[in-house]
Symmetry: C2
Subunit: 501 residues, 2 copies
């Protein structure tokens, strides 16, 4: 008879296999599934999710965790097994706190609300969505009560996506960010006509875009033997294991950035997942530690590396050679400025590096006020407009381009938005640390070499998988809490130079 | 509280979802999985198979079946619910008879034996595989004992793949087949140089082959909204549901038949699966009723339709136009003869319509003798050679092209081979019946129209899914037992004309 630790590992391997199979089924739904497949696909996903939930939250899992913890008494905090038990206990506690009935109700309501939201957005009709939003706020508040929290119900919601980060942490991060970001955005707005993005909206053959993006992923270090790149309407990264990580890309003929920077973004996620197998961790820990840390990887490769002058000083001639009819009259500097044009806009997913976080701060404030009850659903559209004016200097012309633009609230993802900004802040915080240790990185990028940067990320972040919670990891790697200093310094230097302020 | 029938249906829907998810995972393994995916893929398949087994064989399933049967007392035999209970009881009885320990042992041994077989085949070394074959014979004999049988242990093995068909049935079928087939094969052998297959071994661009095979599948009636066609090393058909049926094709530049007739074959399977949703049956019955009946559909579309003079009289000009450099000097008649060249050969999977069944009869005799103990593993190679000489007039030059050529025995598929021949016999038996009711079918095929034939198959075979066991279905449709008369008549007419005897 084996130890409890062995029993626990076997059980978690099965749980992870079910998650991974579900991931594959979901990936295929978005890539190759024929139209008719939709009739049974929901059933596949539901049964896999249900069996995974039953297996993971079973009392046997709790018993094995407790016994394994005693078996490991005295072992080091960093030990792979100790980490497995610690992190899994955290997950187990969260998932067993919530009654199955509430999970089922949220699942049923989101299925309805997504359809209602899609229709309401198309018709820009907030009133049609208001009852669903009311319901979602109510359900997530119930969820927060079951999960438990110290200060604010939003703490519990945020903790699901960014374990260990509190509402107060985000308030503090965002206070600094707001103070420093708005002057940069304003300085750019005053000079907005000095940069044009017209060149990237010319015509770009999709097959050639595909060729370039496959190379771009490989240049960064994406291992095609342990992954794939396919097409889908919405780009995403799906990891089945560190040895099987898939990214998808969307190709738009007259918008080159969509495929090029979309690929770099998803490659950033994929490199993290492919590297998460390096630390000898149990498969259930061989993945990213949080959405925020994940987003730090995608944003670093997409923006700090991919939208840098150094990168294009090396690769622009190849791009130009691939698209002579669209780029032969565009010099590298003009291209570099085009891909970095910054301008306040209504739609979050289309926002540039500078204004993106303003969208997130707006949503964070909306969400915390809705969850605390300080803001009612009926007053939400006015609050949105007021904040949009304050952050972006824009009033949305309709709800479609305002409060109804994001899918998140219809699928009960309240507490999720801050992770996007955490990712942005961390991308610069990690990169700054990497540069302190390897000042040659920018020069190497300008030579088309990424191995020092990737090696540093693997060593310091990727190989740890989910071993450390995000705040622990950030402290270990950078010696600081998550903060906006490095990110602001990065934006100020880059955009000050581009826009001349 | 619902009825037991409702509970049963819900449970079987979940079972079917797990099977279908497993089918998707398996399909992806053979089409798009990157190399690295192999490390976790076995785990996905194992956990899905285990959970499906647990859910299906649970005592609760048996209880629901018994109660539902009482609830349905007095309802008609053909009723969808009555059929669901009847067929599921048969499946349940089979799967609960075998102890989990034996299932696990077979699974573990086949994993080993497949590797040993692959190496032994490569080296043509029967002695290396002999202990594994010994083990497989022993395990399948144990399996037969648990399953139970009336006359011969082989009955129990065969019944897994062709429910209701006995060893004696096959002996009878094959006796007629042997008597009538050998003279045809001999007559062809005497005239073997009168047909050349050289034209189909010229060069055929793979992209154009793809274009043609996609059209060929659609012409037959394959619905691409409810299915896909992809590439894989070994062609197969995988149904996830009648609304999501996938076929795969292998393209070989200098062997046109591989993709063209491979596609027709898999399309035949796929049409059966796509049509199995028409009868309002529970999803677990919406599939083919046996391997033999399935093969009757693939062989009918591949051989009786696809290798007919009528088909090519209509479509050959299109094929010629697609490959002018390889086919412009080949007239239709020469092409028709080339795709129908018959010649005894060592390898079963490369055999033509006439000689294919000789390979199966050889294997059937080997298997029944091994299972009954009449033949020992050590004497098996001699027995193979003797029978090969008897049936094919050939002695294999090595074991690789003899007793080691098939994967089946290494994966415990003893009792499976006869279903290939049953499919061949049934293809002609069904087609003959269709023609009696619709004599216009051959003329329609010669006009490129397949709707009358497909409509007849849907009405008489496809829509019934697994509602009837194969022998019942054949009796209902053709008024006869499965027999070789129609098939022999078909071969004699077709090959007598081609070879002039």
């Amino acid at each position: 008879m084996g130890t409890a630790l062995e029993g626990l590992k076997a059980r978690l391997t099965d749980v992870q296999s079910l998650r991974s199979a579900g991931g594959l089924v979901s990936w295929e739904q978005q890539t190759y599934m024929p139209e008719g497949g939709a009739t049974t696909r929901a059933g596949h996903l539901a049964i896999l999710a249900r069996l995974e939930h039953e297996m993971f939250t079973a009392e046997e899992t709790g018993r094995l965790l407790d016994t394994a913890e005693r078996e490991l008494d005295g072992a080091s905090y960093d030990d792979a097994d100790v980490s497995l038990v610690r992190v899994t206990k955290h997950d187990y506690a969260i998932r067993t706190k919530v009654p199955a009935a509430l999970v089922a109700e949220i699942s049923a309501e989101t299925a309805l609300a997504t359809q209602i939201w899609a229709k309401a957005r198309a018709q820009s009709d907030f009133n049609a969505f208001a009852p669903s939003l009311e319901k979602m706020v109510d359900l997530t508040r119930q969820l927060a009560d079951y999960l438990g929290y110290a200060s604010h119900p939003y703490d519990a919601l945020l903790d699901q996506y960014e374990p260990g980060t509190t509402t107060a942490d985000v308030v503090e991060m965002f206070a600094g960010l707001r103070r420093d970001l708005l002057p940069i955005a304003n300085a750019i707005a005053e000079r907005k006509d000095s940069v044009s993005d017209a060149p990237i909206h010319r015509n770009f053959d999709v097959a050639k875009q595909k060729t370039f993006t496959e190379q771009a992923a490989a240049w960064f270090g994406f291992d095609f033997k342990r992954g794939r790149q396919d097409q889908s309407p919405h780009p995403f990264c799906q990891s089945l294991s560190p040895d099987d990580v898939r990214i998808t890309t969307r190709f738009i003929p007259n918008f080159l950035s969509s495929s090029v920077f979309g690929t770099m973004h998803e490659t950033g996620h994929a490199l993290y997942e492919q590297g998460a197998g390096l630390g000898g961790l149990h498969p259930i820990l061989a993945s990213g530690t949080s959405l925020g840390v994940h987003e730090s990887q995608s944003r670093m490769w997409e923006n700090i590396v991919g939208r840098s002058r150094g990168y294009w000083s090396h690769f622009y001639p190849q791009l130009q050679a691939l698209f002579p009819e669209s780029l032969s009259d565009v010099d590298m500097e003009t291209f570099y400025r085009a891909i970095n044009k910054s301008e306040p806009s209504h739609i979050r997913v289309e926002a540039d590096e500078v204004t993106y976080n303003l969208h997130i701060m707006l949503r964070f404030e909306m969400e915390t006020d809705l969850v605390s009850g300080k803001l009612s659903v009926k007053d939400a559209p006015d609050a949105w407009e007021e904040r949009s004016q304050g952050y972006l200097g824009l009033t949305p012309p309709d709800h479609k381009r305002g409060i109804l633009q994001d899918v998140h609230w219809s699928i009960a993802l309240i507490g999720y938005f801050p992770t996007y900004s955490i990712g942005n802040l961390l991308s610069a915080q990690f990169y700054e640390t990497a540069l302190k240790q390897h000042p040659s990185i920018p020069d190497e990028i300008a030579q088309g070499r990424f191995d020092t940067l990737l090696g540093w990320l693997r060593e310091n972040i990727h190989q740890h998988g989910r071993r450390y919670f995000p705040q622990e990891l950030v402290q270990r790697v950078t010696g600081e809490k998550i903060n906006s200093r490095a990110y602001i310094a990065y934006l100020r230097a880059k955009f000050g130079e581009i826009y001349g302020f």
